[in-house]
């Protein structure tokens, strides 16, 4: 059990340290230009950016859903050959649910950009 705890501790600590070492070491010098948004060096044309069209958030949700599930498929792919009985059932149900969601989204036209 110890090696697992050790690795989690070391890498967890490393992650946190690396996150904050920049804030600790970097010299803090600001100026008015640094506060304005970066627009390729020219003065921003619009002070307040208005609301974004909804289709951007739709694409973000779809990506979030299907990308995370794709990540789950990798371990499943390893055991698909020797999966029998309940493992196979879980695998099939998992895939079916995702496929149903995907088909529904496709038919509703969520993937069309216009």
């Amino acid at each position: 059990m110890l090696p697992i705890v050790l690795t989690f501790a070391v890498f967890g600590l490393l992650g946190v340290v690396l996150l904050f070492v920049n804030a600790l070491l970097g010299p803090k010098r600001t100026n008015p230009a640094k506060e304005t948004p970066f627009e390729c060096g020219s003065p921003p044309l619009q002070k307040d950016i208005g609301p974004f069209p909804i289709k951007f958030s739709l694409i973000a949700f779809l990506f979030l859903l299907f990308d995370v599930e794709a990540a789950f498929f990798f371990p499943l792919a390893l055991i698909v050959k020797e999966a029998k009985g309940p493992a196979l059932a879980a695998l099939v149900v998992f895939t079916a649910v995702i496929a149903a969601g995907f088909a529904y989204a496709w038919r509703k036209g969520a993937f069309e950009w216009e």
Binding site: L25, G26, F38, G41
Partner: protein, 158 residues
């Protein structure tokens, strides 16, 4: 006295870390850009010195490579991009036009970008050969290593 030894070792380590992980912002405008392409590509490969990572946003770059002529119309843009860069930041003036306006001594061109932003390393040449550019980069790395790196905690102390 031991405090002194710790800080010098720490400064050396900090300088070493900063000099070999330079993210550069290629502020390319004119003919030197062609020579910058040769320097950044496979033949002369700027990546061998740790500075190969090209970032096109001042928010993620520590070194701005001002490459090519800077006319007066472009001066405020260069000033804005320089101001928006994260600290600590360095500037390399690449090519004769950035040093002194080069062959364009007329109404349109800024006679040297040190009239706009403070410059660390000047690379002469019109355009400078890729080897000269790499030499300039080495000089900047040496400057980063030897100069006194300023970090926030130290300022509060002194």
């Amino acid at each position: 006295m031991s405090g002194n030894f710790v800080t010098t070792r720490f400064n050396a380590a900090l300088g070493w870390a900063r000099k070999f992980s330079l993210f550069h912002y290629p502020y390319v405008t004119a003919c030197c850009g062609m020579e910058y392409m040769s320097t950044a590509c496979a033949h002369f490969d700027i990546d061998r010195f740790g500075a190969g990572w090209t970032r096109f946003s001042p928010r993620q770059s520590d070194l701005i490579l001002v490459v090519g002529t800077i006319p007066h119309k472009l001066a405020p843009v260069l000033k804005t991009v320089y101001d928006q860069m994260t600290e600590p930041k360095w500037v390399i003036a690449f090519g004769a036009c950035t040093l002194s306006g080069g062959i364009y001594d007329n109404y349109a061109v800024v006679q040297g970008i040190d009239q706009i932003i403070p410059v660390d390393i000047y690379i002469p040449g019109c355009p400078p050969r890729p080897e000269m550019v790499l030499d300039g980069l080495l000089k900047l790395q040496q400057k980063i290593q030897t100069s006194e790196p300023d970090w926030r905690w130290k300022k509060k102390k002194s």
